[in-house]
């Protein structure tokens, strides 16, 4: 399809964007469906080929006040509010070079369109990795990883994007290119723009390049599965394991439904162990004796990898309602017990995956047969229970009829006035992911 086909009122805009794109590509029509948010697709999907293209596109968008949503492969578009205006999705997928992997310095600089899997494949040739394990690394681009602050089970031992990102480049709404940090592992020059962009959901700028610290990959690793009678017990067990003299990579508790997806027979705690052969052996032994009276199954090699990938991907499973709960680890068992009770009473098949040490849990509630269900009421109830403990709920999947009734981010965000101030400074016309984030920023 050519820009001319898009329709007269749009053809002018399309021509301007086409010019800005240089060697990049613009897709219209059917191809834009992949990037639909809440049912509505953008008029165009732009694939700039260079950072200069990104800058030119945004300069045009800014001038014409077009709503632009930066995307990678579009796997996380179900998060957040629908955009106020959505003229174009701007995909960084063509900018995917690993710019510099300084193996002996343990740093890597990479363009935003590179996927996590591509990056880690490259790093693994030197026995290193970027120790982030969010769902679907084959699809998650580095830009999206940063913008959505994506994480996985290993955050417990390895930290999150904020702990690993040491430099960033981004194009602002008006086309200006800015940088923060640098390429060294320790650096306090200037404000920490890496923190600002991490989890900013494409509302502040289009991330084009990032520099990370990388780590050595554990020489040996295994997964120990400890069965528990129930989810609440699994959480209690996890707390006990975290307090024990071990240094696990992750400690993830599963309810029976989540466990069944991984072909495990009951609620369980999955403990990731990694390090040198000696470190792994001693931890396995300690864990076995800690749980002497209960079953512990050790997985290694390919089965361990399969299990870990399952744990990693569970939170991305489709669901009618998906929630990410954060609260203090000690509050988790009681809350999740209530959640299980309620969802069982309401006959909602619900998978729960809890990263107990970090105090975060994913909830995936499935469909209910037959009669209509009041999802908004469930959401409000959940949010209230969690707020009661001082925690937060973010809904990452909402059924269409609940969308108007539940704010995915929650209301009353502390420090919101400052956030709005920042958005206004960096994107005064509100063209980047407009309305997508907290408080419809």
């Amino acid at each position: 399809m050519t820009p001319q086909d898009v329709g007269n009122d749009r053809s002018q805009i399309a021509r301007r964007l086409h010019d800005a794109l240089g060697n990049g590509v613009a897709l219209y029509g059917e191809a834009t469906r992949t990037f639909a948010i809440d049912g509505s697709a953008p008029a165009a999907v732009l694939y700039p080929a260079t950072v200069a293209n990104v800058r030119d596109c945004l300069a045009v968008a800014s001038e014409l006040s077009l709503g632009v949503v930066p995307v990678g492969n579009g796997t996380q578009l179900h998060l957040g509010h629908a955009p106020r205006s959505y003229d174009a999705a701007l995909s960084l997928r063509s900018l995917r070079r690993v710019v510099a992997h300084e193996t002996a310095d343990m740093t890597v600089t990479v363009e935003a369109g590179c996927t996590l899997a591509e990056l880690n494949a490259r790093l693994s040739t030197n026995g290193q990795w970027l120790p982030l394990d969010p769902p679907c690394p084959e699809h998650t681009t580095v830009g999206a990883l940063i913008a959505t602050d994506a994480w996985g089970p290993s955050r417990f031992s390895q930290g999150k994007v904020r702990d690993l990102l040491i430099g960033i480049s981004a194009v602002l709404a008006d086309g200006r290119l800015i940088h923060g940090g640098g390429r060294v592992v320790k650096n306090v020059a200037g404000y920490d723009l890496m923190k600002l962009f991490t989890g900013s959901f494409g509302t502040l700028g289009v991330i084009t390049e990032a520099t990370f610290k990388v780590r050595p990959r554990p020489q040996v690793s295994s997964v120990l599965v400890c069965e528990s009678p129930s989810m609440a017990d699994a959480v209690d067990d996890a707390v006990e394991i975290i307090a024990a003299p071990l240094a696990p990579l992750y400690v993830t508790a599963l309810n029976p439904t989540a466990a069944s997806f991984l072909h495990l027979p009951s609620a369980a705690v999955c403990v990731g162990i990694g390090g040198s052969a000696a470190e792994v052996a001693v931890q396995e032994q300690r864990l076995q004796s800690l749980r002497a009276e209960r079953s512990v199954v050790r997985h290694h090699g390919a089965t361990a990898t399969r299990l870990l990938n399952g744990l990693r991907d569970l939170p991305s499973y489709n669901a009618s309602l998906g929630a990410r709960i954060s609260l203090l680890p000690t509050e988790m068992a009681a809350l999740l017990r209530d959640v299980e009770e309620r969802t069982q009473r309401d006959q909602l098949p619900t998978a729960i995956v809890a990263q107990v040490g970090s105090g975060v849990a994913h909830l995936r509630c499935g469909k209910r047969d037959g009669d209509a269900y009041d999802w908004a009421a469930l959401g409000r109830w959940l949010r209230q229970c969690v707020a009661h403990t001082g925690g937060h709920v973010v809904f990452d999947r909402l059924p269409p009829d609940a969308r108007g009734h539940l704010d995915p981010w929650g209301d009353a965000i502390p420090g919101f006035a400052l956030m709005r101030g920042i958005k206004q400074k960096l994107d005064p016309r509100g063209i980047l992911s407009p309305g997508r984030f907290v408080g419809k920023l």
Partner: protein
Amino acid sequence: MLSSRLLTTLCAIAGDDGVIVRPHELRVYECDGYTLEKSAPDVVVLPRSTEQVSQILRLLDAEGIAFVPRGAGTGLSGGCLPLDAPVMIGTSRMKRIRSIDRVNRRAVVEAGVVNLSVSNAVKADGLLYAPDPSSQMACTIGGNVAENSGGPHTLKYGVTTNHVLGIELVLPSGEVVELGGAVEDVPGYDLTGLVVGSEGTFGIVTAATLRLIRQPEACTTLLAIFESVDDATATVSDIIAAGIVPAAIEMMDQLIVEAVEAAFRFGFPTDAGAVLIIELDGLAAGLPPQAEKITALCQTRRARSVRVARDDAERAALWKSRKRAFGAVGRLAPSYCTQDGVVPRTKLPEILQRILSIGRRYDLRIGNVFHAGDGNIHPILLFDERDEKQVERVLAAGREILEACVELGGSVTGEHGIGVEKIAQMPLLFSPDDLLIMSELRRVFDPHGRCNPGKIFPTPGACVETTRPHRRAAL
């Protein structure tokens, strides 16, 4: 000069004993650990609570008066030097540890709490607060948050920002905001992360929620003696490249070793070119193979000896020598200036060579004691403050060292901050647009530019050469 009405109101808020105006008492506050520039505030206010800080800032906001926050004054970049800010707000009376949650490993502490006292408070529970600046017996959590301070063990455990989960901040308007908190993954922009390292330009941090970690099960501390600095720095690269992440790798060169030995008599050989202190920690089972590997790497680089600290007492003595090295340097010269640059770790041999030749060229003695594992160098330039000519040379040599760091792909500060000291070097790292955006972010928190003015950013239009002589007047 401040009006007596204002002073009276400050006394009403903070109490008479919380307001300092006598010139000889104010002298303590005329500089921090960066002594090349001095300027005393008109008044120092020492509030006792967040509420008092809020009242003070409301008052100053109404009167349009600028202020500067101060913790323990151990900063090394002139961060709490009052520049066009008549009021200094000190946190020395906000020392309460508000709560400790041992199971969830969190502590909420006020800004004036001394770094080491956090770890001391949770020691018996097997916990610790990881960031351990060498100044940890004096510096405050508020200062650490402002500078995003590091320390020897941040090689493995990360710097302040990796351990601060939430911040209570009083904005220059007097409004109190709670950012982040004990629970992780708070929705919205990571303002906690933005405030850490903002060098006291966003408001007064009154409290912070800190992450505590478990004390390691075991640790092994090695002391490796090298004939040359080159061999020592090359060994650092070798260790990192071998995929070992020690808890700490610190280096001291001959000049520093001599000073430290004279002060603490640990038993360092004063004829060695350099020493490395390498600490491994974690599960006991993992340490011996790593220690062996490191020993082998040291030997490949011709180490004269590598020895393991016998016991806790010897380990403590070793760390005391390292952490008090700056102080020991006081024996070598009347004044010293500690620089703070970063290079990629593989560039350590090169930057140390460059420092050596810069020292020769400017006829200055320069010692090196630093966080080698992170590539974070601390050349210490020795001089006599009373000699104008030497001061000039120190400033020029410092600038050249930092330029060399940037040339090698590094940064002009790894942990001490820009403050007033390195404003002129900011354009080496950042474009005018970068600096503009950062200044605009500052305006979001402090629309009138009254919180710690004159720090971090070059004033648009004003070139450095014209600001220097004005500053030097304050020496």
